[in-house]
Symmetry: C2
Subunit: 358 residues, 2 copies
């Protein structure tokens, strides 16, 4: 019999603790997404992305869809990285074919002073309801990941009001009014920590912070405006009884040169994009954390043979050591054939077993 | 009296040869660009970007505009990185507010077989005419840079047909039909080498290859599909009498982990984006090449004091060694105040003198 709080398939948790497991676990960033026809059907019924994300039944339904198709080792809450600023009153929407937009971007001291940590039982209750429902429906088959955007990445969108190549509006604030930028980032760090602790209490078993735009910063500003606040969040989570034992994964895209510093935050795992060789990444983090990654998502457009070959190359690069969670180096894209995801998942498990026999 | 072939201001050439100079030279990627009202006026008269680039008088006019305002140490031909595929018959255009588009993208073996190295006295004569005119008008005040996109970067746009976040169409070709991808890249490498040699013969004194999208590749594909063809071009240039002595600068954006390999191509200088500390970059290239960079272009939106402080931080990071060409880490953006460029250029020269007195 299985203990009620231990997922039946604990490969993912074992890898995050850098303990041996029968094979390499895999999940896929954005695994509940537009490449799945069943996802597109549910989104159609919901009417919009936000209506899908904010309805716990729909969110649960799409969270579970990829697990019904593929032998994945983790579920991740279906949600958006920008729920916190939306709950802060900025008004998040997604125009068709466009990225996120805020109706009320944050531009000055008064805007920032008005921001408060949202109520986890109020504006963000839908997230907690979704987590509770997903945990129930998962029946401990695999662990459930909760997540948020990083303070830097949230601030990028909040100040710019929308996507951007360089998020120069926030960068200008960091340079011209650093105190103001720090006030914003500090509020966001407290909000993200509170949010992730509430997610842990609602059933998330692993917590992840997506720092999608940290890589846009130079080395010194990365440490000052992005890393510092992720470290604050990790410290916060480790001080709270709901999340103390819970592995935290940090993922800064484009942060090849910052892996050692990220590992020093005390996080349990680091997401790694595909521009880094995992062998080099292992050296950089010096055994301190598990590594999650790092197949180029574009490889899923190649043939099954090529996908299998490239999967093996990623796994060989990590080698036969504990602490590897297979994933893409960034989210899966809409045009991928779901059959290719099956090839990916099955090859990771099969080759992971072969690696362990060597 | 000055020798007719030696520019009066040779700081830039001296830095590229890693020889001492009175101060640090600076030029700015996209220095002839939309942030200048006089550029916008000329572009307006020309009617379109391509009409501007393809008319030698207009191209000369806008090339010289930033030199009239700022104490820059180099001029760079006003042109586009995609002139070669346009000359190959793909039909380049720029819709208002959009990136480049090709009417006839390259998708299969037949498309690739049809591609030929363009005639430098035919389709690309306008570039050579522009260079000759600019050299005459410059009167050796500063050296003139000629350039091209890298084979990988040209192929990205040629196969995708337009800009893209991930250029997954070309990546899929690289994985599914590597021979085809190599045939395309090999044709492009020969075309780029021929083009740069012709530019040298027409008056360019330094040659630069922009590998804007090399950083989208993982380490092994970067070496196979991007680096290899840039190395081929450098070897080609060094074998030709017109370009043999000419410094070549390679710039792969997002290639922080590839600096040592890029330096091994035999190039004279490496462009470095702002995500790398120049002190680390110097260690990586081990004195083999000059380094060009690397202020975050977004810093030009900060106040003059901040710009000066950040300029000094970049220069301190390189230290008082020969071989630094100051530049941004990527092209200047349209909303920058031209007065801030003056602050930048003047601070580089002033602080470069102070550094040398220490």
């Amino acid at each position: 019999m299985t203990m009620p709080d231990l997922p039946t398939n604990d490969r993912f948790l074992r890898a995050l603790r850098r303990e041996p497991a029968d094979t390499t676990p895999i999940w896929v960033m954005r695994q509940a997404g537009r490449y799945l026809p069943e996802y597109r059907a549910t989104r159609e019924r919901a009417g919009s992305f936000m209506a899908l994300a904010q309805n716990p039944e729909y969110a649960c339904e799409v969270t579970l869809q990829p697990l019904q198709r593929f032998d994945l080792d983790a579920a991740i809450l279906f949600s958006d990285i920008l729920t916190i600023p939306d709950a802060m009153g900025l008004g998040l929407s997604f125009a068709a074919g466009e990225g996120p937009q805020f109706d009320r971007p944050v531009r000055n001291a008064a805007d920032i002073a008005r921001l408060a940590v949202p109520d986890m039982d109020g504006e963000l209750r839908y997230v907690m309801d979704a987590l509770r429902l997903i945990r129930r429906e998962l029946r401990n088959r695999v662990p459930l990941i909760g997540f948020s955007g990083s303070p830097w990445t949230l601030a990028c969108y909040m100040v710019e009001g929308q996507g951007s190549k360089d998020f120069a509006t926030l960068k200008a604030m960091c340079w011209n009014q650093p105190k103001l930028a720090h006030r914003l980032l500090d509020t966001l760090a407290r909000a993200v920590a509170t949010y992730l602790i509430a997610q842990a209490a609602a059933g998330a078993q692993v917590l992840m912070v997506f720092d999608t735009w940290g890589g846009l910063l130079g080395p010194a500003p990365f440490r000052e405006f992005s890393l510092r606040y992720m470290a604050q969040i990790v410290a916060h989570l480790q001080a709270d009884s709901a999340s103390r034992e819970m592995p935290v994964i940090l993922f800064s895209k484009g942060a090849a040169t910052h892996l050692a510093a990220l590992a020093d935050t005390g996080c349990g795992g680091l997401g790694v994009d595909w521009t880094v060789d995992l062998a080099d990444a292992r050296v950089a983090v010096n055994g301190k954390v598990a590594l999650q990654g790092n197949l180029d998502p574009a490889i899923l457009r190649a043939s099954p043979e090529v996908i299998r070959r490239e999967v093996r190359a990623v796994m060989d690069s990590y080698g036969n050591h504990p602490g590897h969670v297979f994933n893409l180096g960034h989210g899966i894209t809409p045009e991928v054939d779901p059959e290719h995801v099956k090839v990916l998942v099955d090859e990771v498990h099969a080759y992971g077993r072969r690696l362990r026999e060597q």
